[in-house]
Amino acid sequence: MIAGGLPSTATTRFFPGAFLLSNQQNIGTYGTLAEPGPLSAPEKIVLGLGILLAAALFLWRFRPILRNILRSKKDPGFKLSPLGPRIWDFFWEVLCQGKVIRQRPLPGLAHAFVFWGFLAFALVTLNHVATGFGIGFLSPYSLIGRFYFYFAAIWAVLVAVSITGLFIRRFFVRPVWLGRKVSYESGVIALLIFLLMVTYLGAFFVASGSTEVRLLWWAHILTLLAFLPLIPHTKHLHLVLSPVTVFLKNDGYSKIPPLTGDEDFGLVTGKDVTQLISLQTYSCVECGRCTEHCPAANTGKLLNPKEIVLGIRTYLNEFGPASEVPLLTESRIASPDNPPERYLSMEAAFECTTCGSCEFQCPVGIQHLPVIVGLRRGVTNTGVWEDTYGTKLFLALEKNGNALGLSSTERDKFLQRQAFPIFDGTQEYCLWLGCMGGYDPKGREIIADFARVMQYLGTSFGVLKKEKCTGDPARRLGNDLVFQTLAESGLKNFETAKVKKIVAICPHCVRTIATDWREFGIAPEIEHHSEFMARYKDRLPKQQGEKIVYHDPCYLGRYQDVYEEPRAVVEQAGTLVEAPRSRERSFCCGAGGGLAFLGEEKGERVSHVRARELAGTGAQVVGTACPFCNTMFRDALTAVSEAPPQLLDIAQLTARALPASQPSQGPHHSPVTGGAQ
């Protein structure tokens, strides 16, 4: 006994119950972790057998899972390097629990305490088992041991409180995102964790070598041994898998892997499920964060990203990774006898706007978009998906090269009317119109206004004589033939015109050209007009007063991490107001993933939900930075509001304050720009 009375006094202060105990027993030992003393040989045998049994049960249950993961198709083109980002993600998402806390602060913090508590307990647990065999290495009487056990005790309290809170949340508050069914397993697990903590803490209040400590010691180890085999069987498998999943997940957001060989059409059957997908689906902790933020799930549609993940997991368990049973079929539409969590339905897969909230939110590193787009590829590339609007869209892209199915002469006429200079290699920028900018009346206004901004800034630009769609809607709907054709012709188009730098008003175009085209060649540097304008924000006219609520387009925010630039532009044009859900939590407008072209939605319109939210901020203007968001809100705002706010793109917000038909003022006044007047 080294430390005398001080720690025990402290302990009694922290643990009021100990005061009662302290009157009955030797004061010197209370408040120190009691040791069970040497175990008898039979006890040691029981312990050894217990550990073996638990380990065997764990492996027995874990092996088929591991086998399914390992027997899945290798991920084509998977590379471990560069390690830096992987290590950072592991540090931030696993060790710091960054995502878990940030996106759901209270339960997130509770989870983080449990997690960190577990980490703190690793050493304690090892020592606990070792003590049983008489080879304990941490003595509660050593300075380090005493310190560490107290340290762990603090964590034990935090874990116990946290797990109680999480238990209450799951079983009494019952947020809808956790699923309609109550998972009793989760209750058992919570209880076991609670017991683990209590049995640990209890040992501070009993004397070393006492019967009580012996009982606590056994209770603790048995709880642990009961816990172990439950892990692979329940969503608590994430304890084992998710650190690996987070570390191994594919680089890039919403990355759609290239197809390999002549037999690869996307996720058609179990044979196409890759190891990473397999690993990810087994890591799912069913927290429902993906569902909570999903625009489809929130507006009464069948799609629930969690069920997609669990659907793949169920498929793997049922049919195995080598199965040739189709992953998606029409008949697998949910019904009371055929609940969606068991099966994957085509309807659900085509309700995804690819907004990417799910992937962004997922705390265990699941990448939903490659899966959802992969499932779409599987049925689109093979012609199984039959949808009037989808077919119309694909045929329009095949024939006309634009998603709207309009004649390219319509674009020619617009170019002539605007007297846009044709890009000839002498200008700094190629101004990319996109389908919306080239054909949509509202998109054309945005392009025309952005052109005015460029002229005002004295930046020279030209437009391409001919443009075809980047293939974004085809890409997201899983039509690789159309996408590849368009990507290749687009790359050639840029090469022929000797384009070096592109600026575009459409985040979908920017993302597709910059990221998705990479599979077929190197595209010129491309930026979104928000980035361009933000760079010159000090030279843009400062406007006063008006409240402008900015809507983050999914393909600009989450997809490209551009949050500040459009805000900087908005701030020049008025007073920036934030929507309740903004930045990386921004709620989709409903247009992405090709859905703008797919006809009527089931349930409530995504655009209406978002428009209501934007109008509800009381701002006079809704500022957008994507022509698709713009077109969605155009109808939605008038539908949800009696006196709808004005709807303007950031280019229009800027251009409205420019002096009328002002010639170029910039230092780089170029003759080409001048010629465009």
């Binding site: 609007y389 119309k392 709207l404 199915g405 309009l406 919306m436 054909y439 949509d440 009346p441 509202k442 998109g443 703008a596 072209f597 006809g599 009527e600 077109t631 155009r634 109808d635 008038t638 539908a639």
Partner: protein, 329 residues
């Protein structure tokens, strides 16, 4: 005979009104050639119709008559007209470019090792080659015109597009009627046509409607819809709407035209109070003719309209309805 022969079209004793446009074309062509024009009508009992033609300026009006010609079959018509043409030996055979003519005339021309110059929108003669008229056709969906000439010998077969000539330009006169009885046997006729029918139209099928009157946001409120409904009724048109109207439940969703509704291509599309958002434009851009009435003269709908009225629909639409009713009565 040389000269021009016009093959008229009838069904169940009623003229196809395009026949008289072809007849006018035949008379005018004959006049330019300095030749005579005859006409023929085919049927099981076309005598009465041939008699009607006797008051037109024609050389002859043939009643091509046979029991097997009561119901149209290409086999019957080709065989009968082949015999008539062989006997009469015209230089030009003119036909209205109807669905029926499209069905048999190419085969008829083939019997003479000829090619039908189809869907002609104009006939011109040049002074130096008055005997070799130029037939104007449209190519590439009307984006290009082409001049065609027939290379003699043999009869030249021509079908005339609707509306190219005016039926009221047919010159009156007198014509001798003549019955022509072709030799036909039932085994020559291989197809067995059924009775013509119309589709039951309890569901709205905008895609098949020849005329559509479509209403948009500019209508203001549901109570104003009747003025547009009246116009649709006067025109015999289907009523359609842009998305906001259907969203508000003023008209059922099945009447929505646009990217999330129907894609239509009527002969005439009347857009009332529709500004022309792209979602709407893609649904109706295939219309043959577009009439747009909108307050805002900068509305994008005017970009694709053939006829535009920048004005108050509440003033113009009722007037238009009245004018159409008067014109039709």
């Amino acid at each position: 005979m040389s000269g021009v022969l016009v093959v008229m079209e009838q069904r169940s004793g009623a003229w196809n009104r395009m026949s008289f446009e072809a007849l006018a074309a035949g008379q005018q062509l004959a006049a330019k050639l300095g030749a005579e024009c005859s006409a023929a009508v085919v049927g099981s009992d076309p005598g009465a119709l041939a008699t009607e033609l006797s008051s037109k300026k024609l050389k002859k009006a043939f009643a091509v008559q046979h029991a097997l010609l009561g119901i149209y079959t290409s086999d019957g018509y080709v065989a009968a007209l082949e015999q008539l043409i062989k006997e009469e030996n015209p230089d030009f055979v003119l036909l209205p470019h109807t669905y029926q003519v499209r069905d048999y005339a190419p085969a008829l021309a083939t019997r003479f090792q000829q090619v039908l110059i189809s869907d002609v929108i104009g006939i011109r003669t040049e002074d130096d080659r008055a005997d070799s008229p130029i037939f104007v056709r449209q190519l590439l969906q009307g984006k290009l015109n082409a001049d065609y000439r027939h290379i003699p010998p043999g009869p030249c077969f021509v079908s005339i597009q609707a509306g190219t000539f005016r039926a009221d330009a047919v010159e009156d006169g007198t014509a001798a009627t003549e019955t022509f009885s072709p030799r036909l046997s039932p085994d020559q006729i291989r197809n067995k046509p059924g009775e013509p029918f119309r589709e039951s139209s309890h569901t709205v099928d905008l895609t098949a409607a020849p005329v559509i009157v479509s209403v948009g946001r500019g209508i203001g409120e549901e109570g104003n819809l009747p003025i547009v409904e009246e116009l649709a009724k006067a025109l015999g048109a289907e009523l359609a709407a842009s998305r906001p109207i259907c969203d508000n439940g003023w008209l059922p969703m099945e009447r929505q035209v646009g990217s999330s509704g129907q894609t239509v291509s009527p002969k005439l599309y009347v857009a009332i109070g529709i500004s022309g958002a792209i979602q709407h434009l893609v649904g109706m851009k295939g219309s043959k003719a577009v009439l747009a009435i909108n307050k805002d003269e900068n509305a994008p709908i005017f970009e694709i309209a053939d006829y535009g009225v920048a004005g108050d629909l509440f003033e113009i639409v009722p007037e238009l309805t009245k004018a159409i009713q008067t014109a039709k009565s």
